[in-house]
Amino acid sequence: MEENLTAATWFWLLVPMLLVVVLTLVSLVSHKLRGERS
């Protein structure tokens, strides 16, 4: 069997940290859209 990081390690390494990047991107896009509308 091919060795790799455990599933839990991948989850805790990637999900919280990439989630905060996605949240900042969503907030940036919504800010730009609000700016265009007003």
């Binding site: 390690t9 805790w12 390494l13 905060v20 990047v21 940036l28």
Partner: protein
């Protein structure tokens, strides 16, 4: 011997070019620095990218390139928790504090330092808040700066055989010259360049290392054979230690050198872009640091093969890259250390020039005089910190352990409640600062059981409770303060 010489000439050349570039940035910023507000807050004209990267670079220090890869190299993936906690803490700070603090510091009598903000926000006529917070900053940052210089000098002595005193003298002189001349703008622009350099190095080193090992599967397979526990984030850790490591993220709310970047941003409208750039930079840099340490286990065939695990990043660069490229990548380590020292130096200087000299000695001093006082205090604190670093002892280095927790617990709860809770009073704020700071110091002195918890968590909780309790004792905050709070909140909605 020849190999050493081959490496040292390109290394020396790239370091010299890098240091000259930093001084040129200082000279350029000098032209834009006319008032004390320019000198210690850049006249609130930082763009999104500069604010984001300079906040990240000044926050992270040598820990990102040396400490974190070293910890993962020595113990494996169970060291990721501190990175997860920091990423979440930094995000919450950018999301909930940055915009509010930017507006509030401007509306509260245009406060340009954290102590001035506390005094103006709570209309503290006794100046107790300003004096206590300025003293906390001055004490912690002078020694923190000194410890940073010790770390840089020791690193270059150990790794490259450069004389400790020479490395210290050259490094401190360059930092002093550009900080002294260009103030906040020079510090922010150099931190921006340093942030890019650190990012490139942290992406390049793990990618090239993994490619050199034959790919990800081969790297993970080699680590599994050598140190199977290194693949598991839960190996040999308890819930208690995970909470303790993640609590590092709470520190962000009280770090003056990070908060001043929020205060200096050109407009609150620039914050969403700055937040995205800053958090992306941080997350991918943390990934780079983690995978550098992880790939290092496979590359050096085990966790005990390097004398000092914290040199894993440096050792990989020396082993894998052309000496000229290695010189540029190694300059990133210097950049990481310098970008933190310069910011701490400037915040310490502002505590003396704005919070003591202008507030108590010469309230009527003109801009020209104040800028030169600012420069004088940078020089004075810088020389003092360098002299302390000439004779490094454990007492100086031990203070670093307090500094992150100390600022986080002393200032963090006050900053959060000052922008979110209308009922916060001057007495509550003062109690919060004192209780947060004292808890950190006392907790660190005690051992065993609950006292093994990282002291920021109890400090932060007790500091918050102290603000909530003392703000309810005596009269409320006062009509003027409440009106101002409502005006700031209305601007945020």
């Amino acid at each position: 011997m020849n190999g050493e010489l081959d490496l040292n000439i390109p290394l020396l050349a790239t370091f010299v070019v890098y240091l000259i570039l930093m001084i040129l940035v200082g000279l350029f910023a000098y032209r834009f620095t006319k008032s004390l507000a320019d000198y210690i807050l850049g006249g609130r004209r930082l763009g999104s990218g500069t604010a984001a990267l300079s906040a990240g670079a000044s926050d992270m220090s040598g820990w990102l390139l040396l400490g974190l890869p070293g910890a993962v190299y020595a113990s494996g993936m169970n060291q990721i928790w501190i990175a997860v906690g920091l990423a979440i803490g930094a995000y919450l700070n950018w999301q909930f504090i940055a915009g509010r603090l930017r507006r509030y510091t401007e509306m509260a009598r245009d406060s340009i330092t954290i102590p001035a903000y506390f005094e103006n926000r709570f209309r503290d006529r006794t100046s107790a808040l300003r004096v206590v917070s300025a003293l906390v900053i001055l004490l912690f940052f002078t020694f923190y700066t000194s410890a940073g210089l010790v770390a840089a000098g020791t690193l270059f002595e150990d790794t490259f055989g450069v004389d400790y005193t020479l490395a210290l003298a050259v490094g401190a002189s360059v930092i002093l010259v550009y900080t002294l001349l260009g103030g906040f703008l020079a510090v922010s622009w150099t931190d921006f360049i340093q942030g890019i350099l650190m990012f490139v190095a942290l992406i390049l080193v793990p990618v090239i290392t993994v490619m050199n090992l034959g790919g990800w599967s081969e790297t993970a397979g080699a680590v599994a054979e050598l140190e199977p526990g290194a693949l598991d984030a839960f190996y040999d850790v308890t819930l208690f230690s995970i909470i303790s490591l993640m609590a590092w993220g709470l520190g962000y709310f009280g770090q003056p050198h990070v908060l001043t970047r929020f205060m200096a941003i050109r407009s609150p409208k620039d914050i969403p872009a700055a937040r995205f750039i800053g958090i992306s930079w941080m997350v991918f840099a943390l990934f780079g640091a983690i995978f550098t340490g992880f790939a290092g286990i496979a590359f050096f065939e085990g966790t005990g093969t390097l004398d000092n695990p914290e040199t894993v990043f440096l050792a990989l660069i020396q082993a894998l890259f052309n000496p000229w490229v290695a010189g540029c990548l190694l300059a990133a380590v210097l950049a990481a250390i310098m970008s933190t020292i310069d910011s701490q130096l400037l915040v310490s200087s502002s505590a003396l020039s704005e919070d003591f000299y202008k507030r108590f000695l010469r309230p009527a001093a003109g801009d020209r005089e104040l800028v030169w006082v600012g420069r004088g205090t940078v020089l004075g604190i810088g020389v003092f910190a360098t002299l302390l670093a000439l004779n490094p002892d454990a007492a100086v280095l031990d203070l670093v352990a307090y500094a992150w927790a100390g600022f986080g617990a002393a200032f963090g709860p006050v900053i959060i409640l000052s922008v979110f809770w209308r009922g916060t009073t001057r007495n509550g704020a003062l109690a919060g600062i004192v209780v947060g700071a004292v808890t950190v110091v006392v907790w660190d002195l005690l051992e065993g059981g609950l006292f093994d918890m990282y002291e920021i968590l109890p400090g932060f909780i007790l500091g918050t409770l102290a603000i909530l309790v003392f703000s309810r004792i005596g009269g409320g905050p006062g009509e003027e303060i409440e009106r101002e709070f409502d005006r700031v909140r209305a601007r945020m909605d």
